[in-house]
């Protein structure tokens, strides 16, 4: 999966053909491909500037009188694992739903791997793998059947090898012929991860990927995320601050739909120490200090 050539092949396979103006689109697809080729060949966390894969610019979302997301802006680069934190009701899920294109923002815009989510929605969605909260899946389908459906919906012509690959990655061999509704919570979460990875996306957005898992399952998912992070950008929403310290290269805490702090875990811990945040010098303490009174 981490071989550059393989990534480029996958890219070619999933880039949808031109829509309205075949000529100009073909050129842009060519350009995209060569850009992607360059990016996969050169960009790694070690060498040079990694490219920006997620650009969120001033998104706003109202639910009636409540402002769930209030002018949120950030960028995430290749190789980064961004931990998206906030108390319940802080607007995390709404923000994630906007970044994945499920919800339309009232204002602002989102670009995924250079594609505007509003104007080039399908192209943008091709670049994205998403695990929604609670890992929803079609319960009556078998694991293999469900993954095959996702692969087909993503336009993969021969789903077999892609399904085999993610079944191995998420260690689902034992349950691949079982129906999803009979699986344990841990397996369901892994099925959700597997579907998010089926097209080897550049951008991975995971909403509470380890919520409700036992310690072994948590460790397995965290290891998987760490292994994947090298050539992708990952946004991860979670409540578990321990997990953030283990897996994330950057942390953003939001409350009332706005960014409170944004930095590497080390920077945030340093800031906690500088500000004299009471406690044992952990992210938990800073989180509580910043968001106290925000809990709804």
């Amino acid at each position: 999966m981490s071989e550059p050539e393989h990534s480029v092949e996958t890219q070619e396979e999933h880039d949808p053909p031109p829509i309205e103006d075949p000529d100009s689109d073909e050129i842009s697809t060519e350009e995209e491909l060569s850009e992607a080729r360059e990016a996969t060949e050169t960009a790694s966390p070690q060498s040079g500037e990694p490219d920006v894969l997620v650009e969120v610019d001033g998104i706003v979302k109202h639910y009636g009188p409540i402002k769930a997301v209030d002018g949120l802006s950030f960028e995430v680069r290749r190789g980064e694992v961004l931990g998206f934190l906030g108390p319940n009701g802080a607007g995390k899920t709404t923000a994630m739903r906007i970044v994945t294109g499920f919800l339309k923002p009232d204002a602002g815009r989102v670009r995924l791997a250079g594609h505007d989510l509003d104007r080039e929605s399908l192209e943008a969605r091709h670049k994205l793998g998403y695990l929604p909260e609670n890992a929803p899946a079609y319960g009556e389908m078998t694991v293999r059947g469900f993954l095959t459906f996702v692969a087909e919906a993503r336009g993969i012509d021969d789903p077999g090898p892609a399904v085999d690959r993610v079944i191995r990655t998420a260690a689902l061999e034992r349950v691949e012929h079982q129906s999803v509704e009979t699986l344990s919570k841990g397996y369901k979460r892994r099925v959700g991860l597997a579907q998010a990875l089926i097209h080897d996306p550049e951008i991975l957005i995971l909403d509470e990927p380890t919520d409700g898992l036992d310690p072994n399952q948590k460790a397995m998912v965290q290891e998987l995320i760490s292994n994947l992070s090298e050539d992708k950008c990952i946004i991860l929403s979670t409540h578990i601050l321990d997990e953030v310290e283990k897996t994330c290269s950057r942390v953003m805490i939001i409350a009332q739909g706005q960014v409170l702090v944004d930095g590497t875990p080390e920077e945030l811990l340093q800031r906690a120490a500088d500000d004299g945040v009471p406690g044992e010098g952990r992210l938990d303490d800073l989180f509580r200090h910043l968001t106290a009174g925000e809990v709804r």
Partner: protein, 256 residues
């Protein structure tokens, strides 16, 4: 429509959604229960001495069957449509579906076509009736085919109505009840008794207007063997209208 067109345009993902939904009817008991109830009920209503009187009529026609199809579909089609969106919204898979590179139009039409093909398959399983008619007499095949075309178009209308209500609620039972109620209203306004009452109270052209909007009247035109373009157009436009409303409604409420 080429595969590339299906993949790149507004219908991206239609094939995948269609095939998942269609197989879905056969991977749960619902599909089989539906088929058994439909076949038993339609067979019984057709031959029963109290209803269709198929044998007593001594005519090589399936009129007794076609007469009861609109009423059977009132209950059975909402059973097919109720889960299409309500279940998807309740289980949260709608969030997964609409973050895949699948357009709303493609998934809506994919589900509609899957339901319609399932209903067409159920209708196909009534072939023993056709076989009996041809064995017992010399039926007018044109009338029979027009009748089945009417049944298919009727199923499309009911399905489109049912899908709108399935999109509006997360509760399948509520979707079922509202769909049944709506289809009953559209059937009732076409009956001569209702037309008379409404025509007398509203006056003017109301009777003609209602008649032209009546599912019953257009369906009977087809089952009489008259392939009137107006009636076929009515069914297609009626279905398209409900589908369009359903898509607009779903787009608004999908995240609620």
């Amino acid at each position: 429509m080429t595969r590339a067109a299906l993949r790149s345009g507004r219908l991206t993902g239609l094939g995948a959604v269609f095939s998942r939904e269609f197989k879905g009817y056969f991977s749960s008991p619902l599909g089989y229960i539906f088929i058994v109830i439909f076949l038993v009920a339609s067979g019984w209503l057709t031959v029963s001495r109290d209803f269709g009187r198929f044998l007593e009529l001594r005519q090589a026609s399936l009129d007794p069957f076609f007469d009861y199809v609109p009423w059977l579909f009132v209950v059975l089609v909402p059973a097919v449509s109720m889960r299409l969106w309500a279940e998807e919204r309740k289980s949260g898979t709608v969030e997964l579906l609409f973050t895949l590179p699948v357009t709303l139009e493609a998934s809506y039409l994919g589900k509609f076509l899957a339901g319609w093909c399932f209903l067409a398959f159920s209708l196909f399983l009534t072939w023993p009736l056709v076989w009996q008619v041809s064995r017992l007499g010399d039926p007018d095949w044109g009338v029979l085919l027009a009748g089945y075309l009417g049944c298919l178009l009727l199923a499309a209308c009911y399905l489109a109505i049912g899908m709108l209500f399935s999109a509006l609620t997360k509760n399948q039972v509520v979707a079922f009840i509202l769909s049944t109620a709506a289809t009953v209203v559209f059937l009732l306004i076409g009956l001569p008794e209702s037309l008379e009452v409404i025509g007398a109270s509203l006056g003017g052209y109301s009777e003609q207007v209602l008649l032209s909007l009546s599912i019953t009247d257009h369906f009977q035109t087809l089952t009489r063997g008259l392939l009137e373009l107006g009636s076929i157009f009515f069914f297609l436009a009626f279905t398209a209208g409900w589908l369009l409303c359903g898509m607009l409604a779903l787009d608004r409420v999908k995240a609620a």
